[in-house]
Symmetry: C2
Subunit: 293 residues, 2 copies
């Protein structure tokens, strides 16, 4: 049971966390902080938070948990603003989709208090944003990855894990580097590749004709190329190192396939396609089984 | 009005063509040919064809139009079997998704009669196959690309165009090379890239973890990696030259993006993402507007 929770950023992610803990009866007072005054007033009106505050620094001393759920570009400044005001029992966590960059910022801002900073990443989202998009069941059955740092306070880690379990999530633990390389592989790399295909088409010959004749395969493959350019610029830069590693390994697989195509190696091509196809079919079957439970 | 149509391959594509022409009252007799005797009997039972024949060669002399809609690997053998039996007024067309390879096979098999061979590619499909999947409206509003050859018979080309218009399709005309490079860009390349991503993941570290944490972005990007490995092996080999060109141009775009990421060039990354995102959003909007008409 958290007596006091401070949520910095009361949009989809932070608001849903607040709602889910409230639903579970796992929290006493929830204080919302947001630079966006309209969003903050709306979160109060919707009952997502009990109280609104202007500065996180004024609220963290007696908080059991502080969740940073503002846009990740604001994280270093927020950490710097609260660093000297944290109480001895305050635990800080975040919800960013990359971890290496957040940890570096936290080390700089928090110094020795880094032991009570527990990085986390809930893998959940919606197309819509803001307090009105927040749901008390957004995290039900979804994965949350917690990436404890060397020298962490065990109680702090358990407090974060327990909060996410109360919110309905399945908690996984791994180190920061592994988190960042896994997400680079299944999320950040596909975004880069989809953006690149659309960019290549629009800058190349016959762009209009190609787009006019593009069908369902193109539609699915490039759906994520409609994502926010600013957000994905920040993500690929924040996770630069892991992403470049995955990109280079991917380029090697493509180069190998290219050679097989150029050589007319039908058996070799089919072996790669067949392995991928079987993997993808099994993945979908497992996912369908999980969601129909 | 076609007095006699011969459809070689009475599955989804050939069966739907027959049904659509019947619906339009644009055909007299339809003769079906298929190596698969069960499919052929079923097409007769369903009324898709008026008569079933064992050998295309026995039916082509007095046919106005012969549509080749069997698996493309059979095209050279079918063309060879009918070459000496074509009547002076018989026009032959096909429905394959690559054109350069079909044209090469047709030149070999047909010699001077190539003037009455009109390559075509209907861009339409369903997840299901066989005569039972055939629909009289499969081609309504869909594009059919006709790729007339140098020295073609103008009447032959017009007969094929008219037949597809009767079937409800929108007919486009372009040369073989352009068709193959457009399709390589918007269809064949994305398939190769999606297969490669799944293959990279399954052969790399943390495959299980990555697949467990893969979300909606991965799902959409890799949906086409569940496609038939045999069919796509044949397509990438049939369209090898155009596909390798598109693949190399794509690799250059990715390499450029890689350099921007490595350099931390946020503005450069955002410019590429933004152009792609705006293009993709406009594409979807145009598509939604077209389907809601």
């Amino acid at each position: 049971m958290l007596r006091k929770l401070v949520v910095v950023g009361v949009g989809l992610i932070g608001g849903s966390f607040a709602r889910a803990l409230r639903r579970a009866g796992a929290v006493g007072t929830i204080v919302g902080v947001d630079r966006n005054e309209v969003a903050l007033a709306r979160a109060l009106e919707l009952g997502i938070v009990d109280r609104a505050a202007r500065e996180a620094a004024d609220e963290v001393a007696d908080a059991d948990l502080v969740l940073l759920a503002a846009p990740v570009a604001q994280t270093p400044a927020i950490l710097a603003s609260i660093a000297t005001r944290l109480g001895p029992d305050t635990v800080v966590t975040d919800a960013g989709s990359t971890k290496g960059d957040v940890v570096a910022a936290a080390r700089t801002a928090l110094g020795a208090q880094i032991a009570r900073f527990v990085p986390a990443h809930p893998i959940a989202g919606r197309e819509v944003h803001g307090p009105d998009a927040a749901l008390d069941d957004l995290y039900d059955g979804r994965h949350v990855i917690v990436t404890p740092l060397a020298g962490h306070d065990a109680d702090a880690v358990e407090r974060v894990r327990a909060a996410w379990r109360s919110a309905g999530a399945r908690v996984l633990e791994m180190d920061v580097a592994r988190h960042d390389s896994v997400l680079a592989s299944v999320s950040h790399l596909p975004h880069v590749l989809a953006y690149a295909l659309v960019a290549q088409i629009v800058d190349g010959v016959d762009a209009e004709l190609k787009l006019a004749l593009a069908g369902a395969g193109f539609r699915d493959f490039t759906r994520i190329a409609a994502s926010s350019p600013e957000m994905w610029r920040d993500i690929v830069l924040a996770n630069r190192e892991a992403l470049l590693g995955e990109l280079d390994r991917y380029a090697a697989v493509v180069a190998d396939l290219r050679a097989r195509i150029a050589d007319g190696d039908g058996a070799g091509i089919e072996a790669v396609f067949d392995k991928a196809s079987r993997t993808r079919l099994a993945w979908q079957a497992a996912r369908d089984a999980a969601t129909s439970r």
